[in-house]
Amino acid sequence: MSDAAKQITLTIDGVEVSVEAGTTLLQAAEHAGVVVPHYCYHPGIPSRPAQCRMCLVEVEGQPKLQPSCVFPAGDGMVVHTTSETAERARKSVIEFLLLNHPLDCPICDAAGQCMLQDYAFETGQLRSRYAEAKMVLGRDRVADDILYFGDRCIVCTRCVRFMEDIAGDNALVVAQRGHKAYIDTFPGKDLDHAFRGNIVDVCPVGALVHEDFVFKARAWDMDSAPGICPGCSTGCNIEVNVKENQVVRTKPRLNPDVNSYWMCDHGRRSLVMMNRGVRAEAPMIRRAGELEPASWNEALAWVAGALDDSSGIALVSAGVSNEALFYTRRLLDRIGIEGGTFQVDQGDEVTLSGFPKLKLRADRAPNAAGAELQGFRRSDGLPDVSDGATLVVLGDALAGAPTDYGANAGFFLYIGSHLVPAAGNATAILPAATVPEADGTFVNYEGRVQRFHRALRSPGVARPGWMFLSRLLEKLGGEPGVREIDDAFAVMAMGTAGMEAMSWAGLGLRGELLSEAGQPAVAVE
């Protein structure tokens, strides 16, 4: 039996835990339900300099306190993480860190989500006996969109090591030494790596901030919901931070199978961009020549009455949920339209070398695989609309379309969130919620079905596509419409290859791979 498989038992804060040989004390402590305070250690960054000295714990038999982030757990070890000596050491680290700290919490974005604040309160180290002048470093720019506040920096080097170990670009370094040490780039060479935004996430304090987030929102003013990034087909798991019904920040969420702790900068911007543009806020129908607002009941009844068996085409977006796509397919089946296409913007692929599974992928949409599963096909360019044909459009598929696109359609049903110019030609507009305004699922590049959750209220009476499309089908003689995402997912899963065994609850927050039947056609790297 190799050493790696060997189980050892040790006691941490009185709790006996059994771990694999090679586990560090800090990791072993998690098994005991203990989180040892730390700064420089980060579970996603392989280097362990053990330099912040915050994680020192008492190990019986050792003459000095030991850094738990690197000290290997030993069989029979007895460890105390909250003994008087350990706590005194921890408190002293905070005292030293606060010595030259500007204590500018009132104007620092990290307030409320700052590991320095948190541990200062936890250790009770709240008064300083420092009587000297504080060193002032000021503010510097390390990237187009990232600022560095040197006075707040605790030189934990997480940012340096993220860039080196994970981004594979040693462009951020510690300059000078001793109490003059600070973080810097080479003059004239600011960071421009596609994944640089993660340095802000790993910073335990407010030393690194996104310029487009600075002063925007307080930690306690933000709500958040777990989401999936709509920037590309990777489907990074994210946390959507919202203030006053606006997305103010996107952060990555851990998923060891998809994106680890990281996401790219393109993704960070994509949700924020969704706030822009003119929204469809109410159903609109062209009963007598002009588009007029109507209630949902009125609009759905009128559309159900007007749509009949006719030839037509469908155009969908690869950025809408599986549920919306499924119900659209049901609708198209019902009214006799076959096929349907979608376009996906393409971009350069960028791999995160330290976690190669994570790439900013060429498909700049989150659900091309989902669209294909529902029988839609990729196309280049917009399909021609024959005179008098039925045109069904789902999602943000007409962003770049000519203003007269669809004007010659017999019936143009626009199911979307934004009133792009071409939408003015619609016969009926059903206002849909955007991705952050609804629950739903995407299928990523490798066939992983992942949940995203509602973070915003929709404007007006816009609703999730799956909700009103299921009602529309009901009016066309189908089953009763669904009002809950669990039900929408269940109906969809039953009718979608590879999802038959899945449930909304079962997906959890990590998602599940499609069974073989539903695997995407495109080879997975």
Binding site: N170, V173, A175, Q176, R177, F186, K189
Partner: protein
């Protein structure tokens, strides 16, 4: 020292050439000429990793130019497959790499404990007044820069003063003018 010019450089000596010298031979590019390339290659030959030639090459830049510029750092980075930021991180860690030009004679007066117990501060002040400079500045005629140094490792011969690549020991304030006269 004259021998150094005639004999080809032995590789074992490539990483130990003095890098704070009086006679500079300024050059914009370090490794475009045969001497620099020879130094680089000989240094590289002594280590299993390119990165280990970094301190020797930073020293070479200063040997030629009297200080290490950002351009020098970028060029060294390119030769050693390092990022310029990394090279700068290393260069700024060490006291002896000048990030700005200094006077022709870089005068470093040790004021650490054993010299402090002697009259190091007075020696330092005397150098400042005789050269008409403030600490760290270049004198108007470009000849001198005077700073305090940490222990120079000549504690039994206090006060110790390093001027470029020479050691002056047992220095008293009274000797300062004569020392300065001796420098060219």
């Amino acid at each position: 020292m004259g021998d150094q010019v005639k004999k080809p450089l032995h590789p074992a000596a490539a990483s130990s050439q003095p890098f704070q010298v009086t006679d500079l031979r300024p050059t914009e590019r370090l490794f475009d000429d045969p001497e620099g390339r020879d130094r680089l290659e000989k240094a590289l030959s002594r280590y299993p990793e390119k990165r280990a030639a970094l301190l020797p090459m930073l020293g070479y830049a200063q040997e030629r130019n009297g200080w290490v510029s950002d351009e020098n750092m970028a060029e060294i980075a390119g030769e050693l497959d390092l990022t310029p930021a990394y090279v700068r991180s290393v260069a700024t860690f060490y006291t002896m790499y000048n990030k700005h030009p200094v006077g022709r004679h870089f005068i470093q007066v040790c004021t650490c404990i054993s010299c402090h117990l002697d009259e190091a501060e007075e020696v330092f002040e005397r150098f400042l007044s005789e050269t008409g400079t403030r600490a760290g500045e270049i004198s108007e005629d470009g000849k001198y820069t005077v700073i305090e140094a940490e222990c120079l490792g000549a504690c039994g011969f206090a006060t110790a003063v390093q001027i470029n690549d020479r050691y002056f020991e047992n220095v008293t304030p009274e000797q300062v003018p004569a020392i300065l006269d001796e420098l060219d």
